[in-house]
Amino acid sequence: MSTLTNSSSGTGILGWLKALADRFTGAELAQTGKQLLLPMVGILIFLGFWHLAAPQVNTSLGTFPGPVQVWEQSGQLWQEHADQRERADKFVTMQEARNARILADNPDADVRIRGYLGAPTFLDQVVTSLVTVMAGFLLATAIAVPLGIVLGLNHYLQAAVNPLIQIFKPVSPLAWLPLVTMVVSATYVSDDPMFEKSFLTSMITVTLCSLWPTLINTGVGVAAVNPDLLNVSRVLQLSFWTHVRKVVLPSSVPMIFTGLRVSLGIAGWC
């Protein structure tokens, strides 16, 4: 926007219009178009195709939903969520009012507020699962990157651990879940738990599934550092940490990020 205001100085509204027009010509337009217009066009074409194709797909369960129906439904889901929230708020205010009355009668009374126990709405569940996925992914990253670096630096360790990675990598979340549930319920016993057990179980399952691509890619990236650079590091007698920070990490960052992208995909799919 600064370009618009800058060029408008002096000539007033005309200059402003001219600057606006400039935006839609030549190189400027090409730039704006690439960044904004083309994705929009893509989305619009997709929506159009969807709208036209959906009624053609007739199954025993009814026709395939088109964009309009989906939009309406999502509005409904939102409405449901809003209603539920309102009820929950009312429930709490009601209790507060009641507690205030009790306290007025007897100041020593033990009062508490119970949470609203209605079923979580669709939106609540989406948020919960997003939080779970992100937490699981972050934990996976925190484990996989350092471990990958250690494996990439040590050929012997790499050779020893590689078969294990190959075995665990394809294990499905459905297979992890019962095992994780068992371990979590056996070990995570606390009167006032910081996390719910179900959250912990799902999060750890996500971690176990999404760990591997980051681990493998980090290992490969670290092992593939240009041997000349490793020799430079040896000639300079860099300490282990300086070596990791100044040579190993910067050169394997692209590989680590590729791994992270794949991991995030898997975490979301879990």
Binding site: N226, D228, L229, N231, L236, V247, S251
Partner: protein
Amino acid sequence: MTKSHLELTGVEMAFDTPKGSFVALDNINLKIKKGEFVSLIGHSGCGKSTVLSIVAGLLQATKGGCILDGHEINSPGPERAVVFQNHALMPWLTVYENVELAVQQVFRKSMTKQERQNWVHHNLELVNMAHAANKRPGEISGGMAQRVGIARALAMKPSVLLMDEPFGALDALTRAHLQDSLMDIQQDLKNTVIMITHDVDEAVLLSDRIIMMTNGPAAAVGEDLYIDLERPRNRVTLADDPTYVHYRQEVLKFLYEKQRKLESITPRRNNQATDASMKKDTALKAKV
């Protein structure tokens, strides 16, 4: 001054390969004086890089050893700085930061921050690269990157400077230019240098001494030629100096007559053809 500065005694290097042990070097003996500029020349694959790596401490000789100023070499260290063929600069650091990394590491205790900064700049100026201090290796030419590699090595104040075909990847003009710069720098600093080269002219022009290696496997020192030419040397006037031409001839004879590579690329080519192409090669080089 009778005690040698750098001494290789009975160095043997055998590599473990899937097909058994491969003896690359056999009984290399070499004594190098302080401030000497030594070139290693020999056919591809004879073991020049292996010798250099052993002196650098990057490889450990399987027999014999290497002594620098009375200490045995068994690990790499900044007092034996290496200039690699392909500059080996960290691509994510700027030119300045690349040299700084080395200076930081070597003079962390002995220089103040300000002194270190000045020292980095001084070395970049030495190779005429101060103007590109804030560029990354990807943004400068190969010749410029090689200069920075040399600056980084010089900045370590090494007692021996090791160079593995430092100009091998450069075009002829850039190479000549860098050779001249190196001679100028060497005139002032008087470093002990071991340089690997494939280029006969480069060897004769720059060196005090040329070590010619026999063909591998089990390569050894074939001939040891002292180049007694006045410094500073000028490539143009030397081109038809009889002593210079004689030294060149010596090296060429060693490489192409005494140690001729027996296996040629095309198996049907006979010796006459190789001879002819060699003469052509000599003629071409003489013109340059």
